[in-house]
């Protein structure tokens, strides 16, 4: 399994390198710093990622704190559920939602300056502020009840409470959260592709796409891929070093009851603003879709074909990803059993850090490797499925890993003693405790694959398209109204598939 993983990741890179060495292609030149275009692209990648991170995480600290200070807030669970939505909303749908609010015909138009760094930041904050809130909120919930009581008794004011009680816990997880969001923004593709607006706002990821799709310069694509890989590896290593990453939960438990007086309205205001920021674009998109050419759009057979393709890719990628993740984790568990803890950790790491390799590069590399042997365009969907399955692996490991390790620690010896293995072990021992994280993993990977624009943008066409690609194509043809309808359809499909898979596989939350 590890070998296959390495092959899937490294072979495409090798394929691109080989292609760039062929006559007719520009040779690979690693001295990127001497190229003004590459320097600009790298600088912009880092700059927009840094700005996006700061604009997402700093307000998220205040919003998470506001939620923690208002445990009795009405509709609290609903609001926190809303903050989970961006996890499952496809990037290209978010783009449409952002345009819907901040575009020239939107509720808060910012005109042409939407396309460029402004639009990119708006979309990134939409994704990452709620994520940061959900990652940081548990830190307040980890504060022992007695510390809050002590703080009250000692007469601490709000600043002193933050300094002595809240900040010590927050500072442990903050670097990990910052780095995670920085990485997500650095590798962002669909948002930058659609809202970037031009060469001035090109990141490394988009530049790879442009090199392959428009310039067909594999050498430049490889160089950019290596740059991206280098940047991502650096961030990944920093993250591991500072690792105290809180798990992303779907269910947030009820926090300790504190009494907060004067700042109650301030906290309410913060939560309201954050809710509007997240909810307004989606609401606006829905309204625009209902106002748009619904009949015409829904009567287009290509839309339904794209829907079927989207669903097939999503479900297939999820199944493949979860199967691969399962075997990887089983292998990691067996290594740990043999006392090879370091090797076990490396295996987990391999699965978790595969996302540092740009999916575009993997997809194109596969294309290059396979094209001498098969009709590659008839292999578009398998390639897209394979790449998305690979990209979903870190989520599978994050969801399933802890539960599997716990299950293994608790029951492995008992199963050995009872000679319980294979299907029976899975059915009676593993399935009951693993079905919830399994359901979450499958649902997450499915919607991520369904909403992906990366690899399909390289190879797709009007004949072989998904809903995400269709939105991009409609935007490119200035069919904004149709794109809005398609975006809402994709959104509803993702939400429906997520809820269905999580419930059907994961079971009821209180079961």
């Amino acid at each position: 399994m590890l070998t296959m993983l390495a092959l899937l990741v490294l072979a495409p890179m090798a394929g691109l390198l080989h292609l760039s060495a062929l006559p007719g292609y520009e040779a690979l030149d690693l001295r990127f710093w001497e190229n003004a275009y590459l320097r600009r692209v790298v600088f912009f990648s880092l700059w927009q990622a840094l700005l996006s991170t700061l604009l997402s995480v700093l307000p998220a600290i205040l919003v998470a704190r506001a939620f923690a200070m208002l445990p009795d807030l009405p509709l609290r669970r609903l609001l926190l559920g809303l903050f989970a939505l961006p996890l499952v909303v496809p990037a290209v749908v978010v783009v449409m939602a952002v345009v819907s609010v901040y575009g020239s015909d939107g509720w808060l138009p910012i005109g042409r300056s939407l396309y460029g760094i402004n639009g990119i930041l708006l979309a990134h904050v939409f994704f990452n502020l709620p994520l940061a809130v959900r990652l940081l909120l548990p830190q307040w919930q980890a504060v022992p009840q007695h510390h809050w009581q002590l703080g009250e008794q000692l007469g601490m004011n709000a600043w002193q409470r933050f300094r002595f009680i809240e900040w010590p816990l927050l500072r442990e997880s903050l670097p990990g959260v910052l780095l995670l969001i920085f990485m997500l923004c650095l590798t962002s593709f669909a948002v930058v592709l659609t809202l970037g607006g031009g060469p001035r706002s090109t990141t490394v990821e988009v530049a790879i796409y442009q090199s392959l799709r428009f310039d067909f310069d594999p050498a430049r694509a490889v160089l950019l891929a290596l740059l991206q890989l280098g940047l991502c590896m650096l961030v990944a290593m920093l993250t591991l070093k500072l690792q105290r990453m809180p798990e992303v939960e779907i269910a947030i438990s009820t926090p300790y009851r504190r009494r907060e007086d004067l700042s109650r309205w301030f906290n309410l205001g913060l939560i309201l603003m954050a809710t509007l920021y997240v909810g307004m674009p989606l609401l606006s998109l829905l309204i625009d879709a209902l106002d748009g050419p619904l009949g015409q759009a829904l009567g287009d057979l290509r839309l339904w074909q794209a829907l079927v393709n989207t669903l097939s890719i999503g479900l297939s990628a999820a199944l493949l990803s979860v199967t691969a993740g399962w075997f990887l984790l089983q292998y990691s568990a067996s290594l740990a059993r043999e006392g090879r803890a370091r090797a076990a950790k490396l295996v987990d790491l391999a699965g978790s850090t595969v996302y540092v390799v740009p999916p575009l590069v993997i997809g194109t590399g596969m294309f290059v490797l396979l094209s001498p042997h098969v009709d590659v365009f008839s292999w578009v969907y398998p390639i897209v499925i394979a790449v998305n399955a690979l990209m979903g692996l870190p989520f599978v490991i994050r969801c399933l890993g802890p539960a599997m390790r716990q299950n293994h620690a608790r029951y492995h010896r008992l199963c050995l003693g009872l000679a319980l293995h294979g299907w029976n072990r899975f059915r009676y021992v593993e399935w009951p405790s693993l079905r919830r994280p399994l359901g979450l993993a499958i649902a997450l990977v499915a919607v991520l694959a369904m909403g992906d624009l990366g690899v399909i943008a390289l190879f797709g066409s009007t004949h072989s398209t998904t809903l995400a690609l269709m939105i991009y194509q409609q935007l490119g043809a200035y069919l904004v109204a149709q794109a809005t309808v398609t975006a809402v359809l994709l959104l509803l499909l993702c939400l429906g598939v997520f809820a269905l898979l999580e419930r059907c596989i994961g079971g009821r939350p209180d079961a």
Partner: protein, 236 residues
Amino acid sequence: MLKIEGLEFSYPSEPASRMHFDLTVEAGEVLSLIGPSGSGKSTLLSLIAGFLPASAGDIFADDEPLHNLPVAERPVSVVFQQHNLFPHLDLYTNVALGIDPSLRLAPNQIESVREALARLGLESMQRRKPGELSGGQRQRVALARVLVRRRKILLLDEAFAALGPAMRAELIELVKTLVREHSMTALLVSHQPGDASIASARTAFICEGRVAALAATAQLFAQSEPPQLRDYLGSK
């Protein structure tokens, strides 16, 4: 002196099980509270400290009403079973917070922190963090903070439950000495009847949200009423 009159409280999730407390504890006394889990012992302490709002009744400390005061203004110090100290702060700072949470201390206040730590045998460990101490030492630091706060009422909520018998006895004796020296009024919640025997001349048995029995400690342990007391002590 601590006086509790008709103090009432019920948890929102259990409105039917209303608690009702009447109690008087003299200055210089350590009153032990024993009873089964969930009987309301810790709830009573939380009501006195102000962590929970009573629905009715009064609390007086030396005839001064407490029940309408915010937590910080009540003359109360609490020592919990754990989480009494902030783990990222050294011992000196943990104790100094008891004087002023802004940590801007006058020279005499700085000296009183040092004296309190010395009184509890911790003067050489001022710069250590709580994680470097044993459980008993951590509870001593909490008591040092109680000393510098100079509050009239001391509440100990299973403060010594995690310690071994010898350490428990030592710290209970220390509490008795501090309470006597500073004319404090103390309530000690414990699951160990032995702690009550060491700590208190009087012990209250809390059951189903009420003071079901209150007597001299030895007498309480010998009596057979109420039946819940008998069941709790496991006596025949």
